[in-house]
Amino acid sequence: MAHVGLTHFLILSAILFSLGIYAIVVRKNAIMVMMGIELVLNSANINFIAFSHFGNYGISGQIVSLVVIILAAAEAAVALAIVLNLFKTYSHINVDEVNKLKE
Amino acid sequence: MSFPILTLITFVPVVGMVAILFLKKGQDNAVRYTALTATAIQLVLAIIMLFAFDFTKAGILDASTFQFVEKARWITIPNVSWIGTIKIDYFVGVDGLSILMVFLSAFVSFIATLSSWNIKKMVKGYFMLFLLLDAAMMGVFVSLDFFLFYVFWEIMLLPMYFLIGIWGGPRKEYAAIKFFIYTLFGSIFILLTMIALYFSATETVNGIQLHTFNLIELTKASAYSATGILSPQNPNNWRMIAYIFLFIGFAIKIPMFPFHTWLPDAHVEAPTPISVILAGVLLKMGTYGILRISYPIFPEITRELAWYIGLFGVINIIYGALVALAQKDFKKLIAYSSISHMGYVLLGMATLSVTGITGAIFQMFNHGTITAMLFLIVGVIYDRAHTRGIYEFGGLANKMPVYTGIVTIAFFAAIGLPGLSGFISESLVFIGGFGSTVTRTLTIVGLLGILLGAAYMLWTLQRIYFGKFNEKWSFMEDLTPREYLMFVPLAIVVIYLGVQPGLAIDFMNTSVKTFVHFLNTAAF
């Protein structure tokens, strides 16, 4: 086994990404979907930082990931508010059954 | 050309339709009476035609012996680049083959209008479409120009589609679309043959040779140019293929096994009056088309394929009866019995003998009246009970004695009991069929039909009208005066033609004899 390098981190982020996607696709519960999104965001962050670390690009990657973290926080806040409203309207938060716009 | 009675009889319903168009929305009764008036005028005109009809004129092959002929140039497009001049005539006339059909469609339309009285949904639209259908049917039976025939044939599809699709039962959309597509499928074959015939044959008008749709000209071997695709001199089998195409087109309408599956669905879903029209008139258009178009234009192919036509006739008889025996839905049973009865028509046509073809045409007429009665009978209990399951009834005879009496007449007419019209036509078909060496074996097999027919009819009679009375239906009333008015004329015709069949046979006798002679001798 080689020395831990860029590839290892990338693989980790790939796994995390896939798991996140899986959660987004499969779960019905809106909060679970959100968790999947967080996983995806995290895996992206890992990528940014890993590249910036191994690519010797200085600090820029970290800044991007910082932005992502902040946006994630904002996203989580808004999304949870939406989920709460959904719950008020439907008394459940199953995303596949929320299809009023379709009809 | 004197009084344009055929134009009148064809377009009176259209006039009625326009009149209805100008009525206000709420005036349902006015709409109904307008439609009734239109069909009544049509019926009166048809009866006048019957009286004015000359028995000695044959028609069929000779334009001069057609009666009530009207002929006018309809569409003329001069000098189309590679086709030449296109000429389509408005050419109508009646002979022994069609006179009974004209009367039948006027008669059945009138009865169907009466039975439409309790259509409550979109009355105006219903009767407008109904009258359009009526006009188109009449047009098919009087056209002597292939193009005109085809136009009427297609026009008829449209109102039928809506009448089933809007006023039908639970699966109306399915039935309507099935009917429409199936028939349209057949029409394509007819269209192909029509165009092929058009380019193969010519007619001399004012000294100029023009391609023609004229059905009478097309029966003449001399009309075909040697190079035409359907020319008798063409060594290829194109004429055979064209014949089969045409036959398939008409067979779907008959409907002939294995093209019959649209019929039960359409019947079951259609409202009662539309079933009456469908079984009473529309099915006849298939066999009429074969007699009017396929037979005289391709007599040599007809002779060659007669056995197969008879074979399909017998299959229809036996198959329809067997399937009918297994039905639990009253209307479906009647629908299959129609298939069985149309088999007799095919068998009769296949004999190419005077008795057989007379029997076939007479059977067309009788089936029209008898099946109209049968569907009205189904309509009566469906109106009251809103179900058609054979097993759900029982013992209605005591509750509705007059109705049961009518049912007995209609059922026994369908079985072919002597004294009622069905017997004569079936017997003539059998006489003709056995007399012809081509169809002798087929006829022997076909005889099974009279046994099977009796079996399913009597069994149905027993299940619905005899046995223990089901208290569930104790609210059911006997016939209303309007229903009397529907049944009594039909019953009178059925009984009268059973006792005095000569009345109907005289109308077609001259024509049929000429026709049969031509079919058996024409050298193409």
Partner: protein, 167 residues
């Protein structure tokens, strides 16, 4: 094998396992708690990558903020605490297959690509560098982020408020 490697593998294992639990757990609360470990592990990864500030931020924002928010969401939206939430869509099998294939491709690409890398450097602290870069080079982004965050918070508050608009 160096200590660095060992730590990486341990942390990576924790991340993957806990993330898998998040994804596959029947119980939403358990999923949320597993997510905590995922976030912790990711923070560890950041630190391993020499991004100590980001790691700490990750801990604070994710673990301290988002996760708590999520837990609030769970508490507020599930009538019964331990309700069985495993009510997936019908296409779980195709999803596993597709995502599996996707992951395989992803890993394949990651491993096969010939990345241009330099020797990594480990600065003592990144906070100073970050602060400087943020306020010098990316100041507009910084401001915009602040506004976005503000708007998001106000919006979230407005949305989540138990309003009686229809009075």
């Amino acid at each position: 094998m160096e200590l660095y490697d060992i730590i990486f593998y341990l942390v990576a294992l924790m991340v993957v396992v806990s993330a898998a639990i998040v994804v596959g757990s029947k119980n939403i609360v358990r999923a949320a708690y597993s997510l905590l470990f995922t976030f912790l592990g990711v923070a560890g990864i950041y630190i391993l990558l020499g991004a100590d500030f980001i790691g700490v931020t990750q801990l604070m924002v994710y673990v301290g903020g988002i996760l708590i928010l999520l837990l609030f969401g769970i508490m507020l939206t599930n009538k019964v605490y331990s309700v069985d939430i495993r009510r997936e869509n019908a296409y779980i099998i195709p999803s596993i297959v597709i995502v599996g294939i996707f992951a395989a491709f992803l890993i394949f690409v990651m491993t096969e690509t010939n990345w241009v890398t330099a020797d990594p450097t480990f600065p003592n602290t990144t906070v100073f560098e970050l602060g400087k870069t943020l306020l010098v080079h990316y100041s507009i982004i910084f401001e915009i982020l602040a506004i976005v965050l503000l708007i998001a918070l106000i919006g979230a508050a407005t949305l989540a408020r138990n309003d009686n608009k229809e009075r």
